[in-house]
Each structure stands twice: as C-alpha cells, then as structure tokens.
C-alpha cells in the first residue's frame, strides 16, 4: 500500500489499469477510450499504462469506445472504459448491449450535467438515465471509495452468479478533480483479488455460436428473468466481495448502504455521493444536540437495496430524500425508488423529496439545515421541493 495525494480521476485510472493488468495471465485486457470533461484524465491514465498484455484503442466516439470494449470482453478479455454526461448519452445504445450480453465490463462514470445548455458541473442525471440497462451502479463519495469500489466492481461483475457490467460513479470535480490522500494497492494485491477472467460464454474459435441473433419472446423473456435473478443475488455476493476485499487490502470498501445514527432516528436523510459528507456532519452536530436524526448513504443504486434500506429505517417516520438529479415530469430518481421501497411495507412513512445540488449547485450545511427544518415541520408529503431556486414569478402562464 502506498499513500498518495491524488485526484478521483487518478484513483479511477489506477483501479481500471491495475485490474486490467491483473488479467495478463489470462486473455489480457483491451478497451476503447474517448475523452470528455471531466473524466478525460481517467482515459489518459489508461492510455499511458504499460500493460503487459493489453491494447488500448483510442477511438472516434463514446459509442465506439463501448463497442471496442464489448468486442474485447466478448472475446474473454477484461474490459472497461470511462465517460460522462453527453458521452454516456451517445454511448447509451452500446451500454445496453453490454448489459444484455452479460459482459462484465466496468465503466467509471463522472456525473456531469447533461446539456444543453453546456455545464460541466456535477449532476447525476447522466448515469441515472441508464438505470434500466442491466448494469450495477455505485455512487462514490471519496477518492478512496472510487478506487476501492472500482476494484470491487470487477470482482462482483465477473462472479459467475452475477455476470453483469458495473458502473462506478463520482461527482464531477468535487471528486474527479479534488486531490486527497488515497491508499493505492500494489499490483500484487490486485492480482490476488482479481483472478484470471474465464468468461463462460465468450466467443471461441471452436464453437460456432451466434451471440445476439434473433430470439422468440419466450426465449428472451427467460433471459430477462435470468438478469433479474442475478440482480437479486447481488447483495449477498457484494458482501462476499467486500469481505474478500478487506482480507486482501486490509481496508473495508464499505457496505452497499452506509448508515449513520439510524438506530434511534425519527428523521433520516437519504443521500448519495459527496452530499453524504456534508449531510453526515450536519447530522453529527444535531445528534450531539440531542436530535433523533440519522443518515443513509445509498452507495449501491442498481440493484436498488430495498431490504437493507427498509431495515435501516425501522425507527423512522420521516425520510428526506436528497436528489442531485431531476427526472423531468416526476422528481428525483432516488426518491422514486425510495418511495416504492416503503410502499406496502411502511405506508405510514413520510417520504419527501428535495432536489438539491442540481446542475452543479453547492449542497452546503445550511442547505441541509433548511431541509431538516422543512421535513421536521411536515405532517404530510408534498411535491418535490426545489432547493436553491429563489422565489420567482410564474413565467409561463
């Protein structure tokens, strides 16, 4: 282990590259790469990594970046890429292919506001747009969590009980470009954690199989059901991968949901990404003052950790779901799934949505205080509350 002060992008590049290098004793690593702010440093890191058995293809678009990684992965290689915002939108068609082909590709996504108009700051709308594409999704809070989760994502994605691609997400600039002290594992440790990849359904010269031809409805239905079954296995396999990580690296990569003060909390904040750092500090201070308030950080979003979330919120009657994203016509995406999680289980639970930090806005302690004050005074749920929008006259009559 080496402690270095590095950015989130550097941490992601290091994790992707060492994971790829770890497959040098098997079929190697190949990937397509394409730059976009604010993830560019990730693919630059990958491009200069001296792979023993690897080939990095600097392609002409995000669509092709994922396509190259699909070709490599389908041929049994370890494969990955990175992207952000409109790059993810352009790549979307092939992101879906990776999921439905059950290829354990890992992608680091830096959450950036989708344009137009153009804005490079943090917003989770880009990856949440891809939530239904049969990928696992993890939202990270720190550089260390990006590194650890990316390595863990390979382990989980490649597990034969799962075989689904995985996305590690981080907030633009707040993580991607901020330098913090990060523990970088040695290649030898990564080698031990990530054994040779042996993809059971890879293209093989002796096997005249056609991957992705026509299917009848009943055949494809069973393939979708298999994805659902794999998704349901994720929480238990995640826990195995987490324990294995701790044994190899001597550090806990964190649970799929992370709680603070939930054991006696009446009000719980549901957060993700870097908002968690700020919100946790506010909760800490309020608890010191005797308030019964807690926090849940949703690290894993796909599959949605329903059982764990319900278990963590047993003492609460009110949940404030903070979304750094907006699904037009409804509200925040984390809120929608949180509401569904408690429906039919805890119909007394007040699940209120707060849209905050959208389009790169700051989520400050005073924002969290406002949210806590708002939910404290509520006796019933209302429309999603937009934070940071000044009172203004209706402009559209």
């Amino acid at each position: 282990m080496t402690l270095q002060v590095i950015t989130g992008n550097h941490a992601a590049g290091y994790a992707l590259s060492t994971a790829g290098e770890a497959n040098r004793t098997a079929r190697g690593v190949a990937c397509g790469i394409y730059p976009i702010t604010p993830q560019t440093e990730i693919v630059e890191y990958v491009a200069r990594f001296p792979f023993s058995k690897g080939h990095v293809v600097p392609v002409e678009s995000e669509h092709s970046a994922m396509a190259v990684s699909i070709g490599a992965s389908a041929n049994g290689a370890r494969a990955f890429t990175a992207s952000s915002a409109n790059g993810l939108a352009y790549m979307a068609e092939n992101i879906m292919v990776a999921g439905y082909y059950r290829l354990p590709i890992v992608m680091v996504a830096v959450n950036r506001t989708l344009g137009p108009p153009w804005n490079i700051w943090a917003d989770q709308g880009d990856t949440l747009m891809l939530r239904d594409f049969a990928w696992l999704q993890f939202y990270c809070e720190t550089n260390q969590e990006v590194l650890d989760t990316t390595l863990l994502a390979f382990k989980l994605a490649e597990d034969r009980r799962i075989l689904l691609p995985a996305m590690t997400c981080m907030d633009a600039f707040i993580v991607s470009h901020t330098q913090t002290e990060t523990d970088l594992p040695e290649q030898e440790a990564v080698d031990r954690y990530l054994p040779d990849l042996d993809l059971p359904h890879r293209m093989h010269p002796d096997e005249a199989r056609t991957l992705g031809g026509l299917t009848w409805p009943h055949e494809e239905l069973s393939m979708r059901l298999e994805i659902d079954e794999a998704m349901k296995r994720v929480p238990s396999v995640y826990e195995e991968c987490r324990q294995g990580f701790t044994e190899v690296f001597g550090r806990d990569p964190g649970d799929m949901i992370q709680t603070f003060g939930t054991e006696d909390a009446e009000v719980i904040l549901i957060v993700s990404g870097t908002m968690a750092t700020t919100a946790r500090e506010v909760v800490r201070q309020r608890r010191a003052d005797g308030e019964k308030i807690g926090l849940v950080k949703l690290k894993m979003f796909r599959p949605f950790p329903e059982a764990a979330l319900r278990g963590a919120c047993q003492s609460a009657t009110k949940l404030a779901v903070l979304d750094r994203n907006y699904a037009a016509g409804t509200g925040g995406v984390f809120w929608q799934d949180t509401r569904a999680t408690f429906h039919g289980h805890r119909d007394d639970m007040l699940v209120q949505n707060y849209l905050t930090g959208l389009c790169g806005g700051d989520v400050t302690p005073s924002v969290i205080d406002d949210i806590v004050a708002d939910i404290g005074g509520r006796s019933e749920v209302g429309d999603p509350v937009w934070i940071g929008v000044d009172a203004r006259e209706e402009t559209i009559q």
Partner: protein
C-alpha cells in the same frame, strides 16, 4: 494439433449452413458461400462480426444459427469497433483466424461510415466486407446512399434523384493496405481477392455488388446475370487499390450496353432512366480508373 484446436480449419461445417432463411437469388448467400470456399482453400478460420442488416437475420432464431463460425451481432453503427476489440484480443493471444465484418450498405455507407472510417484510419487488423444491395433490405426496401439514381424504393417512390455514393474512393482515401470490389458473377476474381486479403495485415475493405431480387424487383434466377451485366457494362467496375494509391483494373468492360441491366429490374422505370448519361458516367469513370492504374500500377 487435433481437429478441434483453436484456429483449425473446419472440416465438418460450413460458414453458411443449409436451411437459412435468405431469399432466393440473394447475393449475400452466394457471397458467403464464396467466402467460405476462399477460407477453406486458404486454410483459414474466421469470426464474423455483423451489425444490424439482413446478414444477422440470416443466422435464424436462437438457439439455432445458420453460421458455422463464431459470430457476434453488433449495433448498427458498431461492427468495425467491435471487430477492433475482437481482433485486439485475438492478436494479444497469438490466435490465428480472420476477424471479418459482414455488413450491408446501410451499415457501411450510412450509419456506420464514421465508425468504419475510424477503424480504417487506425488500420485495424480486420477484413470488412460490405454486401452492397443498394437498399435497406432488412427494413423492407428504403433508399440508402448506395441506391443508384433513378431507383424506386419505399422512401423514394418516384425514383431517387441523387447518385450512388462512391464508397471505394472514400476507403481508398484512407490509404488502407487493401480495398477491392467483388462480384458474385466473377468467382475466380472473388477467390483471388480474398486470398490477397488474407495475406495482408491491417484494414482490408471489400465491396461486394450483391443482387437483391426483393429490393430490385428482379427475378431470382437473374441475380448473377444482373451483376455480370453491371461489370461488363462498367456500372460496377472490378478493381483493387493497394495502400490507397496503386490501382489495378481486374475486368475491363466489354462494350455491353447497360440498358439490359435496367430493363430487367422493376425498381427502374424505363422511361425515367437517362441511359445516355449513364453510359457517359461509366465511360468517364473507367477512364479515370485507367488513368489511376497507369499513374501507379499495382503491377509495377
């Protein structure tokens, strides 16, 4: 090496198996059979990378397949990029066998042109074969930029007013090691060019004039005759280009009039085809190709 070792030529299977659902008179079926023969004669194995097109429907429905080789379907615009990944891992593992993209004109001239251009510029170690039936056949016969002027399609119901795109010139301009045209009416030329392609590393582009009775509104038994007429009249010249600069014309047109080619296809309305203009265009293009072959001959 035993009979099932990776890369061993197939002995008991064929690339396009019997029982596939391709239309009668489909040029792609003939092309795949010729490709199979060329692979067998060269002792080569292959993997197919096929984007959205009739060629992936050819495989038939899961769990059966009409392809006797490893095959992967890709999204419409992605076959050269997926093939880049497949070829990268084949090469990293020192495995033999060709990685062959098999794509229609829609995936080549139109939606996939950017991806193809990028793979050509990177000189990826793949073979790209476009079976050009001059129409979006898989969706029922709409125009593509390979559709010739005058042809009626479901999206050009009164005849297409624009000319066919010259994709060979575009590919040659990338200075890839090898670009050539193919016709199923010229099997020996086809076999020789595949053999040449197998012997070269890097990006190889082959353009196959592929008759489509369904889209061309022609008789299935006329398919080979039609593409033979296209070569003989200069409508579809057979030539090859090395490194984008050295040209060789393989079959000189023999003064055959292009009129019969048009008369035999109901996609063309006789009274709307400017035969004089077409004759002049063919003549000018052959002169240009001859000049290029003279300037820097592939035989030099």
């Amino acid at each position: 090496m035993n009979a099932t070792a990776p890369g061993t030529p197939r002995t008991d299977d064929c690339l396009l198996r019997p029982g596939n659902t391709n239309c009668g008179g489909c040029g792609m079926s003939i092309g795949l059979t010729m490709l199979d023969r060329a692979l067998t004669e060269a002792g080569q194995s292959c993997s197919l990378v096929i984007p959205a097109c009739c060629g992936i429907v050819t495989a038939g429905a899961f769990p059966t397949t009409s392809y006797g080789v490893p095959t992967i379907a890709t999204t419409f615009a992605s076959s050269p990029a997926v093939a880049s990944g497949v070829a990268a891992i084949r090469d990293l593992n020192d495995e033999p066998g060709q990685v062959i993209c098999w794509a229609g004109d829609g995936g080549t001239y139109d939606i996939g042109l950017g991806t193809l251009s990028a793979a050509a510029e990177r000189n990826e170690n793949i073979i790209y074969i476009c079976y050009d039936n001059e129409i979006y056949g898989n969706t029922g016969g709409q125009r593509s930029s390979a559709t010739p002027a005058g042809a009626r399609t479901s999206t050009t119901p009164w005849g297409k007013s624009e000319r066919k795109k010259d994709v060979m010139s575009i590919m040659a301009a990338h200075r890839i090691p090898y670009a050539a045209t193919l016709s199923v009416a010229h099997p020996e030329d086809f076999a020789r060019k595949m053999s040449t392609a197998f012997s070269i590393k890097g990006m190889r582009f082959l353009l196959l004039h592929s008759p489509c009775p369904t889209g061309w509104k022609s008789e299935p038994e006329d398919s080979v005759l039609l593409v033979r007429l296209a070569v003989a009249s200069g409508l579809f010249p057979l030539y090859e280009v090395f490194d984008g600069i050295a040209y060789r014309i393989n079959v000189e047109p023999d003064e055959t009039d292009p009129a019969e080619y048009f008369h035999r296809q109901r996609r063309f309305a006789d009274d709307e085809i400017n035969l004089d203009g077409i004759r002049q265009f063919c003549s000018n293009r052959m002169q240009r190709l001859r000049a290029l072959a003279k300037q820097q001959s592939a035989d030099a």
